[in-house]
């Protein structure tokens, strides 16, 4: 193999679908699967967005929607969180970007196992349908919060403690199966199906981010799978893994001797890597966007790669910083606070490198670039509040307040969404052959960017004055009279902005659809980028991506700001000249 200088994919025939169904529905082409993943994730994301607006209205104008009960509020919280974290962010960043970028950027014809890849999407779709079906089962979806902590998750009094939680857990297990099928593909393709000259250290950072994130997913999702299985057994077979002896609604249940903290540990052993499963691909995408649109090579490429690897490793040993107030072993706080603060080092390194890439660069404020800059800023803001919450002493008064809500929405909610938007604006021309409309894009960007800060910045203050999260009602009613009027006014303000920003996301959907037909023709390489996906013979790339021969890579993807004929960049497949 090593001595035979032919990539394996050049030697095997590609699967060619004959029917329309095989080409566009049950397609094994990674680009079609990417679109399927993306559209599904966006659709389900819009559902989650709608749920968050319902919750905001309830918080600002209690009683405005009499039909919106406390149970529905908790169900909305749970579904919003779970959909956003798993079914939108994970699925979009790995399923859509991963599928689209990996083969194109590595110079492969397709994923290593196209059939398994197709299966991965359809199983993912099943998991989404199962999740949404929980709205029609008796009792509705679970209202346990996205962390699903037992015992309350499966005891009476929590909405959807019967059917709802079953649907949720089964849907998660199915999602894990789908992710595993996709993830094995991504890893195998990156490791074993690169083209000539494409070493790991020449891969664009997008691929690096997706690579490490997928790897994390493959070793972190098992913990979620195991806890889901154990909770299902607790609920439906009466085992006591997580359930201690407990009195519920005056009745003593049959459980005894279980350990609720075990669930939390398993959940966060998955849950913290999950944060980086979402963040690392975003880091990668942003690194590429910044470099391309600032016309300058990425600062410290190798350090960026090692930072991604280091974050990936460290993310596996920080999980219990989500559990400082859970009642775990008292010494654990020290250990996990230390590891948590250490992880700030590689993360900060990445931020510095982005800033140093921008330093004296020829910055073009294109729409993708704006999203990238917004990402860096938002990630810094969210990351800094993470330092507060990573310290046990500061976390204890702040835990379960709106400060936490503001923190994680900034750092792992909005930031990856910015990366997704930026990535879509960047790669849409390659995907469709047409540019997205810049005017609508700018409008969408400024509304979303400014809106983000108007929504989440005040939440920090709400947190400081102790506003608890996950409360159905914090308004100035007689029952909850502890809540100052000024804070409530802030809540109203947040809600108004959130509604406006939420609705204006339709601009983006409109842009996506309209530009498909009416967008400006993009050409092969509208941004003047170097990585291989811009060097395909056709735009959009045809089945098999490349012609007879796979491209040969001679350099890294970041040769910008150099003179190369009449261009300022040298694509990866241009041979090095003898003089250098």
């Amino acid at each position: 193999m090593a001595t035979v200088e032919v990539p394996y994919q050049e030697t095997v025939p590609l699967h060619h679908p004959k029917t329309w169904l095989g080409k566009y529905v049950f397609s094994q082409d990674h680009k079609v699967i990417a679109i399927q993943y993306g559209v599904t994730a966006m659709a389900v994301g819009l559902v989650a967005l709608f749920l968050s607006e319902l919750m905001r209205i309830q918080l600002a104008f209690p009683g405005a929607m009499p039909w919106f009960t406390a149970d529905m509020y908790y169900q909305s919280i749970t579904m919003h969180g779970m959909i956003m974290v798993i079914y939108l962010l994970t699925a979009f960043l790995l399923g859509a970007f991963g599928n689209f970028c990996i083969p194109l950027m590595c110079g492969a014809r397709d994923m290593a196992f196209p059939f398994v890849n197709m299966l991965s999407y359809w199983v993912y779709l099943i998991s989404v349908i199962l999740l949404l079906l929980s709205y029609v089962v008796p009792g509705g979806p679970t209202g346990a919060g996205w962390t699903l902590y037992p015992p309350q998750t499966i005891t009476a009094g929590t909405p959807g403690d019967d059917w709802g939680i079953a649907m949720m857990l089964i849907s998660l297990a199915v999602f894990i199966a789908a992710f595993t099928m996709g993830g094995l593909n991504y890893i195998t393709t990156i490791l074993q199906a690169r083209t000539r000259g494409m070493t790991l250290m020449r891969m664009p950072l997008t691929v690096w981010g997706i690579f490490i994130a997928t790897f994390l997913g493959l070793i972190a999702f098992p913990a979620l799978f195991v806890s889901a299985v154990m909770m299902l057994l607790d609920k439906f077979l009466g085992t006591s893994f997580f359930m201690p002896a407990i009195v519920s609604l005056g009745k003593s249940l049959d459980y005894s001797g279980g350990q609720p903290l075990l669930f939390q540990h398993l959940f966060w052993f998955f849950g913290h890597p999950e944060v980086y499963i979402v963040a690392l691909p975003a880091f990668g995408v942003i690194s590429d966007l910044i470099s391309v649109h600032a016309r300058k090579n990425i600062f410290g490429y190798r350090m960026m790669v090692w930072a991604i690897v280091a974050i990936g490793i460290l993310s596996l040993v920080v999980w219990a910083h989500h559990m400082y107030v859970a009642g775990m072993h008292p010494y654990f706080g020290f250990f996990f606070a230390t590891t948590t603060l250490i992880i700030a080092v590689p993360t900060a390194l990445k931020v510095y490198n982005w800033l140093l890439t921008l330093w004296r660069a020829n910055i073009r404020l294109t729409v993708p670039m704006l999203w990238a800059l917004a990402f860096v800023l938002t990630f810094i803001v969210g990351g800094i509040t993470g330092l507060f919450l990573g310290n046990v002493i500061i976390d204890i008064p702040l835990s379960d307040t709106y400060f936490v809500v503001a923190h994680f929405h900034m750092v792992m909610g909005v930031s990856p969404i910015f990366a997704i938007f930026g990535g879509i604006y960047h790669w849409y021309p390659k995907l469709s052959g047409r540019m997205l409309n810049d005017k609508i894009g700018l409008l969408h960007f400024y509304i979303t960017f400014i809106g983000t800060y108007l929504i989440y910045f005040p939440m920090h203050y709400l947190g400081f004055i102790g506003t608890p999260r996950r409360y159905y009602e914090t308004g100035v009613t007689e029952v909850t009279g502890f809540y100052p009027q000024s804070a409530h006014d802030l809540n109203v303000f947040i809600t108004c902005v959130a509604l406006f920003v939420g609705v204006s996301q339709l601009l983006f959907v409109y842009n996506l659809i309209v530009s498909l037909k009416k967008g400006k023709k993009a050409g092969d390489n509208p941004w003047g980028a170097n990585s291989l996906e811009w060097r395909t013979p056709d735009t959009p790339p045809g089945h098999g991506n490349w012609g007879e021969r796979l491209p040969t890579v001679h350099r890294w993807a970041y040769d910008f700001g150099v003179s190369h004929g009449d261009q300022d960049h040298i694509p990866q497949d241009v041979p090095k000249q003898k003089s250098n």
Binding site: A2, F221, T239
Partner: protein, 229 residues
């Protein structure tokens, strides 16, 4: 492959492979790379299960049943501890051996031998599952062990209810792996015999073998932690 590419220095060799183009695992077919990574993921599943076992067993304050008594099999009126488990272990190890032989035969392109060895492996695997069914039914019917605790007339009543729960869950999940493995073996064996893999180096046999040996590997840990501890 390792014969043709010499195994290099532990550090420089690793670094060279990881920094080379095209493939990182030199000479490793895609399917095999995928299977290894899948097994890594599966390792995390089983370890999380076993960690859960460790936690519930050390957390509970109720006493844990003594395995050598619970799992004893009486032969002619004498209770022999762990007899059935010893036989099950014997069967599974035997099947691992036949599988290893099948892989060997595969690379010598002896398809008939591959088929029979894989079929033997599958048969031994099915035997294992059968004995597991016997073991379970004995525990459920005779000892009165249930996933949620014990029956009211069980001699074990008063022990930790997690015993049955974790035992049935983990051995059940392992048994599921064995059952899937049996089906997988039979499918691959038939396809090999029919010549579906003739254009390849029959590495599919090794890939199937990796999965099967992994199932055996998990049993080593289950044997130690559930039956001996």
């Amino acid at each position: 492959m390792s014969e043709t590419l010499d195994k290099e220095n532990i550090l420089t060799g690793t670094a060279r492979d990881w920094s080379s183009d095209m493939t990182t695992f030199k000479g490793v077919p895609w399917g095999k790379a995928m299977m290894w990574i899948f097994l890594l993921s599966d390792t995390f599943i089983f370890t999380c299960f076993l960690t859960g076992y460790m936690v519930v067993r050390s957390t509970t304050t109720e006493p844990w049943p003594v395995p050598s008594e619970v799992f004893a099999l009486s032969v002619g009126g004498v209770a022999v501890p762990l007899l059935l488990i010893a036989i099950m272990t014997f069967v599974l190890i035997t099947s691992s051996g036949t599988m290893a032989m099948a892989v060997n035969a595969g690379y010598r392109r002896n398809k008939k031998l591959v088929f029979w060895l894989m079929a033997a492996t599958a048969l031994l695997g099915a035997t294992f599952v059968g004995m597991q069914v016997f073991e379970w039914s004995k525990l459920i019917l005779e000892e009165g062990i249930r996933p949620w605790g014990y029956t009211d007339d069980s001699h074990l009543l008063g022990n930790a209810p997690q015993f049955g729960a974790i035992f049935f869950m983990v051995t059940g999940f392992h048994g599921l792996h064995v059952s899937i493995g049996v089906a997988y073996l039979l499918i691959v064996a038939t396809k090999v015999l029919r010549g579906k893999y003739d254009h390849t180096n029959l590495e599919i046999v090794e890939i199937t073998g990796l999965y099967w040996h992994f199932v055996d590997l998990v049993w080593v840990f289950i044997f130690a932690f559930f039956y001996l501890w």
